[in-house]
């Protein structure tokens, strides 16, 4: 087991209770999909896992360690890739290349090695043509693919994807699907309301409703 949420309770002051005594586990190699209505707390759940939100009650256990302080989360974030709903939030470096290098450089990886990583990631995702582009000028679909590249460059063990297909055309959606399927060794957790996309990638799908997770058959 790599991620465990134990009796999590969480509420927003404006939105009220989102989770009460929620339990959730992700095992190594699992590919999990979480479906839920808007405002059901899907993104909140992912934020709690990576420590961007602190639950009022309960424990977050990642790689067997109870996460208590910000520094605990810093360590696990090296191994968790997080894709934001809006790629504009994620791409802030001047060029595509630099954005891909941002994570590895933060991890103080040697420059030569960073160049190799950037090279490999660009090749893997087939975005050679975007390499020198300025991130702000990419199209919506391109931004999403580059955002995925920026995460892959950190060589994560777990990927958390927040609505990865919203607003994308069929081709880009297909491309992302292929990319995710090809990464067999990565543990995945996708949050989305598009069940068809998840069906092709995930081996377990949960429904998030009224703060509870329920496994569904597909």
């Amino acid at each position: 087991m790599i991620i465990k949420l134990e009796n999590i309770s969480f509420s927003y002051p404006e939105r009220g209770v989102i989770f009460e005594d929620l339990n959730f586990e992700i095992y190594k190699g699992e590919r999990i999909g979480i479906k839920g209505a808007n405002g059901s707390g899907k993104t909140t759940l992912l934020y709690i896992i990576v420590g961007l939100l602190k639950p009022q009650k309960g424990n977050v256990i990642i790689f067997g360690k109870n996460m208590e302080k910000e520094s605990d989360f810093y360590e696990v974030r090296k191994k968790i890739g997080f894709l934001f709903q809006d790629s504009d939030d994620q791409l802030f470096s001047p060029t595509v290349e630099e954005d891909i290098a941002f994570g590895p450089l933060n991890l103080r990886i040697e420059r030569k090695k960073v160049e190799e990583i950037v090279e490999r990631t660009i090749r893997e995702l087939g975005i050679e043509n975007l390499r020198k582009r300025i991130t702000g000028t990419l199209s919506y679909g391109e931004k999403r693919i580059v955002a995925i590249a920026t995460i892959f460059s950190m060589e994560p063990e777990i990927l958390l994807l927040d609505e990865p297909t919203t607003g994308l055309d069929e081709d880009t959606e297909k491309r992302i699907k292929e990319i995710l399927i090809s990464k067999k060794d990565i543990t995945l957790c996708i949050v989305s309301h598009e069940i068809n996309f998840m069906k092709d990638i995930c081996n377990k799908i949960y429904l998030l409703e009224k703060g509870k997770l329920k496994q569904i058959n597909f």
């Binding site: 810093y74 974030r77 968790i80 470096s93 001047p94 960073v114 300025i134």
Partner: protein, 242 residues
């Protein structure tokens, strides 16, 4: 044969420095005779402009403000009166002063336009980083450039939504309220976005330092251009303070 095909081929650091010194020199200049020397650089740079339409647009915008100066300044500086329009006196000093502003503004505009804004400003921000400008300032500038289009998109989206619900600005309290809400929305949304961007940075292990991935390559041509620039500025310096 041209030394450079594109202005972007010149090292951005060099471009920034030339622009900076040129602007400072010209800003403190008062001697009309010397402006012939100052003309050399902008005239040389004009040959690098590819998109004249875009250039003209900026040129007109700058000169619109200068036109406003011409409407007021010649009347408001005391001195030798040349002629009168109704009760208002146009003075020699006033015209001289406004002309000085016009020349300075246009020359600075041309150099800045070609040297800095013909390539994406991001490159210049990068150059600032290499010139040891404080990191906080550079990052501030960079994020401003990066997120202005995003905020503009946000603005367009709200504007569209307003139009689709038949909003037409008039001189009434409803319009003022709506515009107030509109500005408030943009500020709020920008704030929300900044929080999300920061989260995204934290998730990629950002801990306060922006590492630079690219290093500029200084070429022999850049050395040549630097020497020319140094000679040019030395001559200007000599002429000014001889």
């Amino acid at each position: 044969m041209k030394l450079y095909k594109k202005i972007e081929d010149i090292d951005p650091r060099l471009r920034f420095l030339i622009c900076f010194f040129y602007s400072v020199f010209i800003a403190i200049e008062k001697d009309f005779f010397l402006f012939f020397y100052y003309l050399i650089l902008p005239v040389f740079l004009l040959s690098f402009i590819n998109d004249f339409k875009k250039f003209l647009k900026g040129f007109i915008a700058v000169n619109f403000f200068i036109f406003l100066c011409w409407l007021f300044l010649p009347f408001s500086i005391p001195g030798k009166i040349i002629f009168k329009i109704f009760k208002f006196n146009i003075t020699y000093e006033g015209i001289e002063y406004t002309l000085l502003i016009t020349i300075k503004a246009n020359l600075i505009f041309i150099t800045n336009y070609v040297l800095i804004f013909s390539s994406h400003p991001v490159r210049i921000v990068h150059a600032l980083h290499h010139l040891y400008i404080p990191e906080k300032l550079v990052n501030l500038l960079f994020f401003t450039i990066r997120y202005i289009p995003v905020i503009e998109n946000e603005k367009n989206r709200i504007e569209r939504a307003m139009k689709l619900r038949c909003f037409k600005p008039k001189t009434d309290i409803h319009t003022y309220k709506t515009i107030g809400n509109f500005l408030g929305q943009i500020i709020l949304r920008s704030y929300e976005r900044s929080k999300r961007v920061y989260k995204a940075m934290i998730l990629r292990c950002f801990s306060g330092i922006f590492w630079v991935y690219h290093h500029f390559k200084w070429s022999k041509r850049d050395t040549f251009i630097s020497i020319c620039a140094i000679i040019y500025f030395s001559i200007l310096f000599y002429l000014k303070w001889r």
